[in-house]
Subunit: 229 residues, 2 copies
């Protein structure tokens, strides 16, 4: 296989959890492209492919190496124009950046706090040390204090999904009639939460749950290939 | 003029303030279409055009009547396909619904609370009575208590703009290189705040301010045709 996707894992190498890697997995499946997943721990990332990146996903397509889930989606769209589109036009490409902004500045910090100890506990010892140090620097406090703050996020999380609920009054996917990369962006965040945290962030009967279940069904149930925590 | 846009105003008929009407004004200018603005008060809306609508904007284009800013944008895109596009493709059309959801579920409630007394005070007496009754029902409390809650919104408002700041790292408009209807959606909310409230919600030096100023400059400075409160 010439296509290789490096995917962040903890001790259990069958449970890749990075939200950004999930965006790329769904993007590749959307394009109908086969690929191998290479599980890696946090501290292995800087050593991959001669140290080309500090972040996953890192994607090898033959001779080509691309990191960052959005850049990979742009690359796939350009390299495989005859496969199903990930953006449906230039407007969709531009607005996917806004969806990324919303997901990463709203959902990610909340999920990061809610699940921080679960993520820590799932890692190899060497990665736990890295994770504690980097996240305590990022959040400016101990992992335990961040987890405590996450108890508030648990209560407010559902309210942050209101923009999706409004959109879902008009269409079944962010991409309209069918899913686009923008759906995978938000799916990635919620799939991350689903895999690492025993907290259920989406309530049954919520239209966002229904949309998330539709996303889990996509591409032969690719999202369900890893069970919920 | 066969094109007529009914626009919500208070006592000063030269200061239309509805966020939704501003979306349509910019949409019409984007398409290069001339139109007359017909100022109306809240309580006049149900009587317009044989009672066809309870909301503004209401837009008449010859024989055609359309209400709701998104529906008007869709109508303009279909009726004037040779003019500059408001969506740049089907993906952009779909994702504009998400932008609408974000703007209406995040920015609008905050601005509504922050500016509630300013809006009330700008209205004709008959509209003040309607506004108080309908808003006290909507918010479940007095206008004055809602205004008090708005003091918290003032402090948190800037943080709600983070999704825009992320997007602006990559491109000058939500629509990409140039503005699309999605920009006008968010512009409408902030223009509403600019016109009705003396509070300045955007700080100088903020990239969101820079984007908003770019939007005010569009279409010969249409947004600047009404001064800030």
């Amino acid at each position: 296989m010439t296509r290789k996707l490096y995917a962040l894992c903890g001790t259990d190498r069958t449970r890749p959890f990075s939200p950004h890697v999930w965006k790329t997995k769904l993007s590749l499946a959307h394009k109908g492209l086969a690929f191998d997943v290479v599980p890696v721990g946090f501290t292995e990332i800087p050593m991959l492919e001669q140290g080309v990146t500090k972040i996953v996903p890192l994607f090898r397509d033959g001779e080509k190496l691309v990191s960052d889930s959005f850049d990979i989606a742009l690359y796939l769209e350009e390299a495989y124009p005859d496969r199903p589109t990930l953006f449906r036009g230039e407007g969709g490409k531009a607005m996917a950046r806004f969806v990324e902004g919303w997901s990463q500045m709203t959902l990610h910090p909340a999920i990061g706090r809610i699940a921080i100890m679960d993520i820590h506990d799932s890692l190899e010892p060497v990665d736990r040390a890295y994770f504690r140090q980097s996240r305590e620097k990022r959040f400016g406090t101990s992992l335990e204090a961040t987890a405590e703050a996450g108890r508030v996020d648990l209560e407010t999380f559902s309210a942050t999904l209101e923009p999706l609920r409004h959109m879902l009054k008009f269409q079944p996917f962010i991409g309209g009639d069918g899913p686009l990369f923008a759906d995978y962006i938000v799916f990635g965040a919620l799939q991350w939460a689903r895999i690492v945290s025993p907290h259920r962030l989406l309530a049954a009967g919520d239209v966002v749950s229904d949309w998330f279940e539709r996303c889990l069904d996509l591409h032969d149930g690719l999202g369900r290939s890893v069970t919920a925590a």
